[in-house]
């Protein structure tokens, strides 16, 4: 018999609260390069594995998130310049982006997001005909 049926006066079931995450949230350093046909975003995310990375693009807002997975090491801490945390950064992109063609890859702790400009925003070369 489960806990719920035993106590039949219970009409409101409380879901277990997930363990509160008290991790630090970092603003990762980024490079943004604009090329004729796309914007390229490079985000430093050391210690992050691909399955914890989230890239979202909605109404011109690009959000990137990643969770740093650092194996806890043993021993007494002598120097601490960083601690495991999450990376979060969001940008409003005023360029017209072909949202369905956005791609992202994570390599050596650097996330690269390709944001192709929509066809209308790409430069077009007009050939001048000679008469």
């Amino acid at each position: 018999m489960s806990e719920l049926t035993k106590n039949n006066s219970t009409s409101v079931v409380e879901k277990p609260t997930p363990v509160p995450t008290r991790r630090a949230v970092y603003t990762p350093q980024v490079d943004i390069l604009e090329l004729p046909n796309e914007l390229v975003l490079l985000v430093d995310m050391p210690g992050v594995v691909a399955d914890s990375v989230e890239v979202q693009f909605e109404r011109g807002e690009l959000t990137v998130r990643g969770q740093q997975r650092v194996q806890p090491l043993d021993g007494k801490l002598l120097v601490q310049e960083f601690e495991p945390g999450d990376f979060y950064r969001a940008f409003l992109i005023s360029q017209e982006i072909a949202a369905d063609q956005i791609s992202a890859e994570l390599k050596h702790g650097v996330l690269t997001v390709h944001l192709p400009k929509s066809a209308a925003a790409q430069p077009r070369r007009i050939t001048v005909k000679t008469s």
Binding site: V30, E34, L35, L39, V40, L73, K76
Partner: protein, 145 residues
């Protein structure tokens, strides 16, 4: 002149101000000194070894060198490349590039031949075993006959 009577209290205020400034700067000092430092490191120690962890996003084995000098110094150096081929326009450029070097001074000598390094997802982990003489030695106490 009665400045001599004024001065001590003035100096006292200055001293206090000075102390306040020192205290403020001290609090910030550790962070300020890290501005531009690359890579950021954590260092740990147990009875047998030191452990260094460094954030090296974008680096591979080819552009990172680790060396041990003076028995207790570890040097991390290398080069971060930029993917600028001149055809684009930068909107942001926060990630550093170029050559870097960081020297870590450990409190005890290490055994350079037994250093282990692992580089994964832009995170470097080093295990630096202490030199034999730096390890704690347990002395067996003989029971008296």
């Amino acid at each position: 002149m009665n400045t001599s009577r004024l001065l001590p209290s003035l100096w006292a205020s200055f001293d206090r101000l000075h102390g306040e400034m020192d205290r403020l700067l001290e609090g910030w000092g550790s962070d300020l000194s890290l501005v531009g430092a690359f890579p950021l490191v954590n260092v740990r120690e147990n009875a047998d070894a030191f452990f260094v962890e460094a954030e090296v996003p974008g680096l591979t084995q080819e552009n990172l060198q680790i060396s041990v000098t003076h028995r207790n110094q570890v040097t991390l150096q290398g080069e971060r490349h930029t993917n600028d081929n001149g055809s684009g326009r930068w909107h942001r450029r926060e990630r550093g590039f170029g050559r870097f070097q960081r020297v870590l001074q450990l409190p005890a000598p290490i055994d350079a031949d037994k250093v282990e390094a692992k580089l994964e997802n832009g995170l470097l982990q080093l295990r630096l075993p202490k030199a034999e003489e730096a390890r704690p030695r347990r002395i067996a106490v003989k029971a008296a006959e």
